[in-house]
């Protein structure tokens, strides 16, 4: 059973993991790659537990040759390190 349905715009792009992520109740992150989205995968899994979520998105936004789509690639947020 899917833990939750999450829209792609509510997921965060994680440059390190090269994945869209969303908080998992275990403390880790649900993850799905652009490649997975491109082939229509809609399950984002957590590497630390058995839970998964269903990602709501338009496949067309990811199948274009160019990643120029109306899904705004979430920009990396700057970080202030004191």
């Amino acid at each position: 059973m899917s833990y939750d349905d999450v829209e792609i715009e509510d997921m965060e792009w994680n440059e390190e993991l090269k994945s869209y992520t969303y908080p998992c109740p275990c403390g880790d992150l649900f993850q799905i790659t652009k490649e997975e989205l491109k082939i229509g995968e809609e399950i984002a899994r957590c590497p630390s537990c058995s839970l998964y979520i269903t990602v709501i998105y338009n496949m067309e936004d990811f199948t274009d040759q160019k990643p120029k789509t109306n899904v705004e690639p979430p920009k990396q947020q700057p970080v202030a390190v004191a």
Binding site: G27, A80, A82
Partner: protein, 389 residues
């Protein structure tokens, strides 16, 4: 919410126990692994309050100083870097302040000083630090928006924060960060995100005694014992954009929010739950929890299996729950995959189960206990005194 009784007797000893998800160092065991049974931690300074987040912990000492440990990748530990800490480390930036309230969110942290200043650090991508931008901070920064007004409490959720202010014009709750599920309570419509604190509507007439936030939920408890919730709807109910009083004939003295449920502790020592249709069956969806699927008169339902046991304290992780009985016993239920129930296995439970926390010394008794939950882990802080012989 906090009994806040000091450890008076010099012979009284404090014990800190932890269990559950531990791969970010959040258990304070100095190991990066899950623990399925309670672990006694190496000696810490005397702790007055803990707050546990997604995978980090903030400890407030009786000396009003702050220690943090666990996941630090977003700067939530306030150590001036973005690294995890396996052991409790003091937050140097706050060492010149007397801190009286702390809150750990998913990946951010909030600290309130004795004179009412509030500081935040960690993930700021949704404006949840209240600093007017969407930038993360690795050291606590003062939230200047409140100027000289007195902040009493802060509550950090997944992507939002609440602040409780008291003043001559009554109590005021402010929200900042993500408002996608209505969790800010600042307008009738959902707002994407705000990076500066805005006043929560609908609580102006309410004397608020405490606030809490977890997941996409927000809650406030009034001094009359009324519980208000807003944000993501419970049990499949629609999201709520303004504080909504939980309909119940009971008066509440404590509330504990999860990601899909809220617990309320009544004045009589009963525990009630709202939402939580998957509580204790996440890994076993065929089994149905028979709690409050009908949103009739009483929105909340009593927790099964407690019978006449009187409860004195509650806490909620994302998907598990913990309570303390008047005899100082700890009981857990909900999701158990990471050992967060402390029962020696990874099973889920729909009814509270007794946790076996070893007596450190044979001739001692427990004088007070408090429970705290992070997303997938649990802490117990208890004071013990030797038995008179």
């Amino acid at each position: 919410m906090e009994a806040n009784e000091r450890v008076k007797e010099t012979e009284e000893k404090q014990e800190v126990w932890s269990w559950g998800a531990g791969t970010e160092g959040q258990l304070g065991t100095e190991k990066l692994q899950d623990e399925h049974i309670p672990q006694l931690l190496p000696l810490l300074p005397s702790i007055s309050r803990l707050s546990c987040g997604g995978a980090h912990v903030i400890a407030l000492t009786y000396g009003k100083k702050v220690l943090t440990w666990g996941r630090g990748a977003s700067g939530q530990l306030g150590h001036g870097n973005m690294v995890n800490s396996l052991e409790p480390k003091s937050v140097q930036v706050l060492s010149n302040f007397n801190i009286t309230h702390v809150s750990a969110g998913w990946n951010h942290s909030g600290f309130v000083s004795e004179c009412g200043q509030v500081f935040t650090c960690g993930d700021g991508s949704f404006g949840q630090l209240g600093l007017g931008d969407y930038v993360s901070q690795s050291s606590p920064i003062k939230v200047s928006h409140f100027a000289s007004r007195h902040v009493y409490q802060i509550a950090c959720g997944m992507r939002h924060s609440l602040a409780l202010l008291k003043g001559e014009h009554g109590d005021q709750v402010y929200g900042f960060g993500s408002g996608k599920r209505g969790q800010l309570g600042i307008s009738k419509e959902k707002v994407k995100a705000v990076s500066l604190p805005q006043s929560v509507s609908g609580l102006q007439e309410v004397n608020v005694s405490s606030i809490s936030a977890n997941g996409d939920h927000s809650a406030a408890l009034s001094s009359e014992g009324n519980l208000y919730t807003w944000g993501r709807g419970f049990g499949g109910a629609p999201d709520v954009c303004c504080p909504d009083r939980v309909i119940s004939r009971f008066s509440f003295k404590q509330a504990a929010l999860g990601w899909n449920h809220v617990l309320g502790l009544t004045d009589e020592g009963d525990v009630l739950m709202l939402g939580g249709s998957h509580h204790g069956v996440l890994n076993n969806p065929q089994k149905d929890v028979l709690v409050n699927q009908d949103l009739t008169e009483e929105q909340v339902k009593k927790i099964p299996g407690l019978n006449k046991i009187k409860v004195v304290g509650i806490a909620s992780g994302s998907e598990h729950s913990v309570l303390i009985t008047e005899n100082g016993e700890v009981m857990t239920w909900g999701w158990g995959e990471h050992g967060q129930l402390g029962l020696g296995d990874t099973c889920d439970h729909t009814c509270p189960q007794l946790v076996n926390i070893a007596q450190n010394a044979e001739h001692q008794y427990i004088t007070s206990s408090k429970v705290y939950c992070g997303s997938g882990f649990t802490f117990v802080v208890r004071a013990c005194r030797p038995k008179q012989t």
